[in-house]
Each structure stands twice: as C-alpha cells, then as structure tokens.
Symmetry: C2
Subunit: 339 residues, 2 copies
C-alpha cells in the first residue's frame, strides 16, 4: 500500500508515528504494509518511490517547519504533478478544514479520485459542502472513499451506526459533536463566565485556531451533515442545517438549567426531515450528557431502542488511529472484491 499524504500537521505526524511504531503489527494482524511515498505540506513536498524514511520526515518537519527539508532534490511539488510521476494506491487528505469553499481539500480529493486513488480524509470541509457529489464521483471512478476521522476523531461513530446496527432502521439521532463548546459549557456549569471558560479552553489547547467555527456551531453542523448523508441516506450539505451557536449563552442560563437537573449542551439533531444544531437543555441522567471534551451520540432505532456511543472527539493520535481503521477497511474491501 503506497500512500500520498497531503497535510502534515498534528494528525499527519501522529500517523507517521503510528506507522513507525506499529509496522510489524499492522502487517501480521491485518496484512497491510503502508508506505508513504510522497508527503506534501503548504511549503513543499518530500517524495520517495520506495517509501520515505519517516524518522527523517518528522525531523525535517519539526526542525525546519516543512517536509521540503527532507532532501535536496527538487521534485515536483504540486499534487497532480506528483500523482503523475509516482505510483500510489491511496491519497490521505489532511489539510485544515475550511467551510467557505473547502479548499484546498476539495480540489485535492477530486484530483485524487480522478487519478483513480482511493481516498481517506479527515478534513470535514469537502464533506460538509459537497458530500453527495463526492460520493457520486467516488462511485463513478470506482474508488473507495473513507472519512472515519471526520466525526468523533478516534471514536468510531460512523462505523458504529453503519456496521453495528445492521438490520435496524435508525429513526433519528442526537448528540454532542463538538468537544470545544462542550468543554466551555462544562466549565460554565462549574461557575466560570463564558469568556473565562473560552480562555481556559484556549490555554488547554481545546479551542481551534478559528474558535468561531466551534462556537457558532459550524463544526458540529459539518459533522451532522456527514452523519446525515452516510447514516440516514439523506443528500444534504451544511446549507440545510438550522444552526445556532453558544455565544448567546450566559452563566445565568446555565445555572437555571442546573437547578432543574439539566445541562445546556450544544446538541446536533437529525431525523429524516430536520437537521439542527442548537443549545438545548438535556437531563443530567441522559447518557449523552457528557462533560469536558467528550463527544456522545444516541441513535434511536426502530426495534432495539436507544444506543449511545461516547468517546474523545479529537486528538492527533486518536484521529490518526481512525486513518489506520480506514486503511484496514479499504484493504479488506479490495480483497473481498478480488476474490
């Protein structure tokens, strides 16, 4: 399995570390032997048809700030140029989420699909803005398209709904899909003002570069769109989500809720008609009423009631582990097809 990876931030570096530490294990247990043959970041690229030395790649990124410092060769550094010159089966897209036009992720994914690469992405932007057409393009090009890490980080929320609820019809689901806002609301329940809670989240590294994506509910809405398409079979984009963030919530609201044994949470909800993200009072004994940066989703099924899944929604190592799951699944799905 030869991989081209685009984007080498926290998740990409965690992926390189997992590949370094688990190479033999992944081969023995799952029959995969992933090699990174090209790595691009915003400043350049490193390429080696036989597989990059991942220690040196990490060293280049950490000491010089770009993978271009990997060696002195002046190779093509556009993704399309690299795909023309280097053989690879899988493209892993890890550039930052952009909900305005989804770039550069969207173009990277489309180019990869057209070049016949299987795609794994952890970037929510392209899916939030163009899920239905990307799935169609993947089918048309007969390639596998996986995105486990876009929802729930390392917590397999998408797989759970798709693979474990076989034979069931999911009627609706609701959940907490954004760890940053949940951390802030948890801190407000402990008595902090909105601004102090936000500052605390920034200090702890829980608030992203552009916290408005979190605070205004765009991040949760993106994940809701991915789930609605993938799990419920809807054909929707982020424009179909009714959305309200948490910037209007103050300490008094939170304390009032607490007296009624409820908590205010930023809840994402979907049935076959509505897609909504908004601050909602939920019972403290409701399984999705989780604290801190946890994510939680309850699926309501037709025959076997409610099922909840809870886990950390972010983290470099966690999200990188979702890429490993996707690699294994692509491997298995190809093997099945070749029988």
């Amino acid at each position: 399995m030869r991989l081209i990876i685009v984007g080498f931030g926290v998740v990409g570096q965690s992926l390189a570390r997992i590949l370094l530490s688990r190479a033999s294990d992944l081969y023995t247990l799952y029959g995969i032997n992933p090699k990174i043959v090209a790595c691009l970041d915003s400043k350049g690229s490193a390429v080696s048809p036989a597989g990059l030395d991942l220690h040196r790649l990490l060293e280049a990124k950490i000491s010089k700030g770009t993978v271009a410092a990997y060696d002195k060769s002046h190779l093509q550094s556009s993704l399309t140029g690299i795909m023309e010159n280097i053989e690879a089966e899988i493209l892993i897209e890890m550039t930052p989420t952009n909900l305005d036009d989804a770039e550069p992720g969207l173009t990277n994914i489309i180019s990869g699909m057209r070049a016949g690469k299987h795609i794994i992405t952890v970037n929510k932007g392209p899916l939030a803005l163009a899920f239905p057409s990307l799935v169609e393009l993947a089918d048309y090009n007969n390639i596998r398209f996986r995105f486990s890490g876009t929802v729930g980080g390392g917590t397999p929320i998408l797989e759970f709904a798709k693979r474990c609820l076989n034979g069931e019809r999911i009627v609706s689901f609701n959940g907490i899909l954004n760890g940053t806002t949940n951390y802030i609301l948890t801190k407000m329940e402990e008595g902090l003002s909105f601004h102090d809670a936000l500052n605390d989240a920034k200090i702890k590294g829980y608030a992203e570069a552009m916290p408005l994506l979190d605070l205004e509910g765009y991040d949760a809405a993106s994940k809701l769109v991915i789930m609605a398409n993938w799990i419920m079979g809807l054909k929707v984009t982020i424009r179909d989500v009714k959305r309200e963030g948490i910037t209007g919530i103050d300490l008094v609201d939170v304390q009032k809720a607490s007296i009624k044994k409820t908590s205010i949470k930023l809840v994402a909800f979907c049935d076959n008609i509505h897609l909504e993200v908004k601050p909602t009072m939920i019972q403290k004994i409701d399984p999705i009423c989780v604290n801190g940066t946890l994510n939680a989703v309850t699926f309501r099924s037709e025959y076997s009631g409610d099922k909840t899944i809870i886990g950390r929604g972010a983290g470099g190592m966690e999200t990188a582990s979702s890429i490993i799951r996707d690699l294994i699944e692509i491997r298995e799905s190809i093997a099945k097809n070749n029988l």
Copy 2:
C-alpha cells in the same frame, strides 16, 4: 434460510413478531427470507417443512401454553429427531439460562453443531460454562456460531468491540452488564431500602425468575466471560471470575458514596489477567455511571483512548433484534465464502 427454533418464550415470540412484520423488508434490504420450519418448547413441538404459519404458532402458544397445540399431527418432538427429518440451515437456541450445567441449551447447541447447523443463541449458560470448547467445535464442524443477544440484549456490545475497533488493541474494559442490579442500586440512591428496591424491580418485571443469578453477580459474570473470550481472546469460563454480588450493600453505603459524587455500581472488569465482578464506587461523571436498567461498557484502547457504549441490556424485542443481526451476518459471511 430455514430455521429451527428451540424455546418459545418472550424472545422467541418477539422474533416471530419481527419476522411477521418485516419479512419483505428483510428480503429487500438484506436478501434473507427466514422461515421457521420447526419450533420446540418444553412441552412439545410444531413442524412444517414449508415453514410454520407464525400467526397460528403465536396463537397456539398464547392460548394453549405450548407450540404443540399448533396442529394435530404427532411429529417427533426431540430436537435430534426433528433435525434428522427436517431440512434446516440454522438452529436458534433460546431456552432459559442455567449456570449449573447449562442444560438443555448446551446439548441443543452441541447436537446442532454436529448436525452441521449454523447456531445462534441468546442463552448465556453454555457460553459461560464452555465458551472455548464450543468455539472449537464450531470451527471443527465449519459452522457459524453467533451470540450477539447474550451480552447487552439489543445493544451491540460484542459487535462494537469486534467490528468498530479494527486496528486497535483493547487493553481492558469495564462496565455495567446487569440491568436488574443497576435498577435496584439506582432506586437505593433514590432512598429505597434494598428489599423495597428489589420488590419494585419484581413488580416492574425487571427481576428474573431466579433473582439470585442477578443479585449475586452470576449474570454479569456470564457476560464478562463471553466478552473476555470473544473480545480479548482469553480462554476462560465463569469459574475464572472473582465475583461478589450486591446483597451486602445497604442504604448507608449508597448514601456515603453519593456524598462523594460517586455511585455504587455492580462493575464487571477485565484486562488480560483479571476477571472480576464486584460493587464498585464510580464517579457520577464517568460515562458508564448510567441509571435504571441500562447497560454500559467502556473499552480502553491502546491508541484512541476510552470508548463507551450504552443501551438497554434486555427486553424481548431488543434481544430478538440481535438475532436478526446475527442472521444477516451469517448470510453475509456465507455469501462471502461462496464467492
């Protein structure tokens, strides 16, 4: 798909109802067309090579107390006799759990395996007492052996660990695996004495015929054994579990725990060495700290942290829905093998 079903209590009758209401759906979506060709209960049997009329079967059971009232024919009513005379692919074992010698379930399952039938069971007894040898016998006879409903009822705890955590090593897990004791402990937190809480559970139908299996932790221990074998790859039986029930817990213990923002729960725990069921104080904010009859399990994985799954652990319809999942999985696994 021709099914022989053994045991026609709450779960069996729920299964018949699901098959009645979802026949076309199951065929369209999953390509399965299950027909019950024989049904046995403790008083007799009903047999029809073309498939029993499920309305009449339910009517016979409800009005006369046994499926033997289905028709006047005097057919062979031992399971082995029926298996010799009727063609069927799958045996579904639903007799009550017995943790002394696992009978009659154990003999039913072994006979079915020897006769080359795929087996689905919701009976914990045979698995708690003989998991390693049953799996070996299934392999030896080249048949599929599924038991989703034995842990978590309709909540896919086993599938979650096996299918959704692909590529991960599960280091340990702990959880609440018995709804009856959890209901009693929840009621005690609300101020009821142990005996009042137990009576309340009996009135609500949450306490089984022999509540000691629940109260003394045998039920949770059985499920722990199934999970330890299936998920962790251990080869253990219920004799390997260190077990303590909740009969020694009084209201004072529960109230003391509550002051410390914890709850006493009957927690089952497993790592690669220890198997333990015992009353344990856990933080109220721990995701497995669920109330009422809910079940909850947290899996600790090596790379992507803790993941929790929560759902109803019992109920006829819920457990019957797990049988449908198993049927679909057997169908898919056979189809894959025949490619």
